[in-house]
């Protein structure tokens, strides 16, 4: 976020930005930036590769010692070595009757899928010592039920004080996606993000349910709900056409 660098530097603090989108950085002209050729979402490159991450950080921090600015935009030379698919990876087993049954059972199948993934997600937590599920503040079962109720056309009230229904719906969807993706990445294989995304969006009831809800809410009279469903549930590259 190059603009933040400008404001902080004006206030007397030296900054270096990591840039994922070079044209934006070229336009903003921050004091210092290191452009990295990594996937959006991975400013320091591959997970669980401390040596590579350290090289990125040091390449950025060393720009603080350069006297050639302002403006410095340098390119990090190496690609993310973790971005290639792992052929040894296999998604968790979900019976085909759950993952790909009839459309009218989608909401129940999504809820069943959440239950089926519980053990493997527990193994993820044991393996990594953490989960990124939790934005909604609801359990996964509650998230699935809330999304299922929307899918059944119920427009349920928000279960959490201070969070509007569209907001809690967005967070419940975020939590369901995180839960499925963490479960899918459990184990020794190192799936690329694309492999995990292919599985979530093409082979699960949860992915299909989120897609279906997105389509259903496009007809809503509530503009905010329409906006959230349209733009903030399904990645642009995964929207079903």
């Amino acid at each position: 976020m190059s603009a933040l660098g400008h404001y902080l530097e004006e206030e007397g603090i030296a900054t270096v930005a990591i840039s994922l989108i070079r044209p934006q950085t070229e336009n903003t002209k921050p004091p210092r930036a290191l452009w990295v050729p990594f996937e959006l979402g991975r400013p320091f490159g591959p997970p669980s590769d401390p040596a590579f991450q350290t090289r990125v950080i040091l390449a950025a921090l060393r720009l603080l010692e350069s006297e050639s600015g302002p403006v410095i935009i340098e390119d990090f030379p190496d690609d993310d070595p973790g971005a290639t698919p792992d052929p040894a990876w296999h998604p968790p087993f979900i019976p085909v009757a759950v993952a790909a049954g009839p459309a009218d059972s989608l909401s129940s199948r999504m809820e069943a899928e959440g239950v089926l993934l519980r053990d493997v997600h527990q193994r993820w937590i044991a393996q990594h010592g953490r989960t990124t599920v939790g934005l909604s503040g609801l359990t996964i079962g509650e998230c699935a039920r809330y999304v299922a109720d929307w899918l059944r056309g119920k427009a349920p009230p928000s279960p959490r004080e201070g969070f509007s229904p569209p907001l809690i719906l967005r967070f419940a969807v975020d939590d369901l996606k995180a839960y499925c993706l963490e479960a899918a990445a459990t184990g020794a294989a190192k799936p690329a993000s694309r492999q995990l995304g292919d599985w979530l969006w093409n082979e699960t009831a949860t992915g299909a349910a989120i897609q279906a809800l997105r389509e259903e809410l496009q007809a809503s009279a509530d503009d905010r709900l329409k906006l959230i469903a349209g733009n903030f549930m399904v990645p642009a590259a995964r929207v079903r056409v």
């Binding site: 976020m1 270096v16 400013p43 921090l61 989960t131 990645p235």
Partner: protein, 153 residues
Amino acid sequence: MTRLTDLPPAQAKRLAELECPDFATRPWVTGPVLSKRRVAIVSSAGLVVRGEDPFRGRDADYRVIPADTKPNELLISHISVNFDRTGFQEDWNVVFPLDRLRELAAEGAIGSVAQTHYSFMGATDPVLMEPHARELAGRLKSDQVDAVILPPV
């Protein structure tokens, strides 16, 4: 590897052509060598400590991330769904490299790691973030920070 050419064309075009502030000044602050600097992370990934108020829509303010925050306590509440989250799910250092900074401080490559780190939510118009960023500078200075790394997501 993902460059703009790897994204769906409409998304790549929108990102490349996103309107950026046109600044009249070119600020430039120098300081001591890296081995004497105190470093803070100011992310724009919409990071929030579990249980605290997540970013709602395009909030322009920032969230505080104390240096003793545990990996299991940090969540991403960025509004965009168009970036990978699986890297962060496996290893928070992909987005918030606090462990790496601690190692660099232990080795003496940097002077020290700040007591507190921060996150904005990068899909917000930067012009709206300006007053918050200027106020944040005061907090960073009171923590003796003289180097800020600004990772996006």
